[in-house]
Symmetry: C2
Subunit: 238 residues, 2 copies
DNA sequence: TCGGATAGGCGCCCA
DNA sequence: TGGGCGCTTATCCGA
């Protein structure tokens, strides 16, 4: 790889892949240094930079969209310096194992189901999931009381605040429920309000907190609309 | 690329890079589908899979370490099926733009400074950052409801719980402080306890919460030990 | 742009 | 292994 190759690729909006032995220093939101080793360096069409080690899901170093690159050559190595408004990074390339640039055409977005928001919708559409007689008022996350997943009245006209979690609800989820419930209770000047966590399960300390606060738990999982299709497909494959 | 090439590469612990036009279906913690488009597919030595679109920092699809792969060829496309204990993914490769596998040797870990933990240490070593007469007892004290960043006595022997944040402390940070402070207060049977947020700043609603609860704020930023060196370097470069 | 919250979060530490 | 939580979190969404 020569500097011009990389510059051209970036200029033309190509996505660049480099495998190289390198060390990396970063300064910005924190400070870091990564000693010599073999990594994959990816620079995308939008000028996002990712550095991946041969293990793990997360990049060991990265720079955000819109970063600018400058490449210089020394006697026995190549320096890639990267900067944006708030951060900079220097990558010293000792040896380049391979370099490749390709123009990628992709305007698609991931279609996904099973989110917390869909849980809220599901409960709104089938309030019996909470309890007989529950009447949801809204699933708007932005009510005038804040971001509340579902809130409504029970059959005794007591206000109910529901916080949904797609995974085991932990102490943070209980904190959140309490914060919303307290706010609604205070703003409306109520003497009593009910708080409910809707989740597949509670962690032990979340359960303890919930009990102490007098809140409740409903065992509910997020909907996965494609599940039937997928189980069928999986069955065929096995 | 033929199936054997990929199989061999994976078997030999190489890291694989593929650029291809593909569509992807996923089922596991959620369900998703990504229609045809050009992407980079990376399979690492530890069998982590990442799929990247030509923009953004995060992979559009991924599978964790230890995933197993199976590749089959059809008339005009190649199918890569990926599964682990809880999830599976099917990648239909319509056209492969390039394929490359390389053995990467990298045992290094990122050295990083400027973390929340270092903020705690800094305060522990220089308690005056909180206030004159503050005597820290511990950092990272583990309680059943979480661990407390810094914990100690003020000059009147009132217990103080400090929660550190690298960035603007938000309502969640105040929740967390309250949870810890309440726990300590209750467990020790105290009539009063002080809670302090140490952070560069507070968000508006965090400030409101803090005031209502009678807690305090100290404007403190995380230490960046390499900063002087780096500013000097930056100055030289500019 | 900022604030607030979710995420198929990930990765780390500790019981 | 599971709980609890920080993260150069990223990303979305609304004000």
């Amino acid at each position: 790889m020569n500097p011009a190759e990389l510059s051209n690729a970036l200029q033309n909006g190509k996505t660049v892949m480099i495998a190289a032995n390198c060390n990396i220093s970063y300064s910005g939101r924190a400070e870091s240094f990564l000693p010599d080793g073999d990594r994959i360096i990816m620079i995308k069409a939008d000028k996002t930079l990712l550095v991946h080690q041969p293990h793990g899901s997360t990049p060991v170093n990265y720079m955000k969209e819109g970063t600018r690159y400058d490449i210089t050559t020394e006697a026995n190595r190549t320096l890639l310096s990267c900067r944006n408004e708030k951060e900079y990074m220097n990558i010293a390339l000792n040896r380049i194992h391979f370099f490749r640039a390709h123009e990628l055409s992709d305007g698609q977005k991931l279609q996904i189901t099973g989110s917390e928001r869909e849980m809220s919708q599901m409960i709104y559409n089938d309030p019996d999931l909470i309890e007989k007689g529950f009447r949801p008022l809204s699933t708007e996350e932005h009510t005038k009381f804040g971001f509340i997943d579902v809130f409504g009245y029970d059959q005794n006209r007591t206000l109910v605040v529901v916080e949904c979690k797609r995974y085991a609800a932990d102490p943070k989820a209980v904190d959140q429920l309490k914060r919303y419930a307290d706010k609604v209770k205070h703003d409306k000047g109520l003497s009593r309000i009910r708080g409910i966590i809707a989740a597949p399960r509670l962690t032990p300390s979340a359960e303890e907190m919930l009990q102490k606060l007098g809140y409740e738990f409903r065992r509910i999982s997020p909907p996965k609309y494609l599940e039937k299709f997928d189980s069928k497909q999986r069955r065929l494959e096995l």
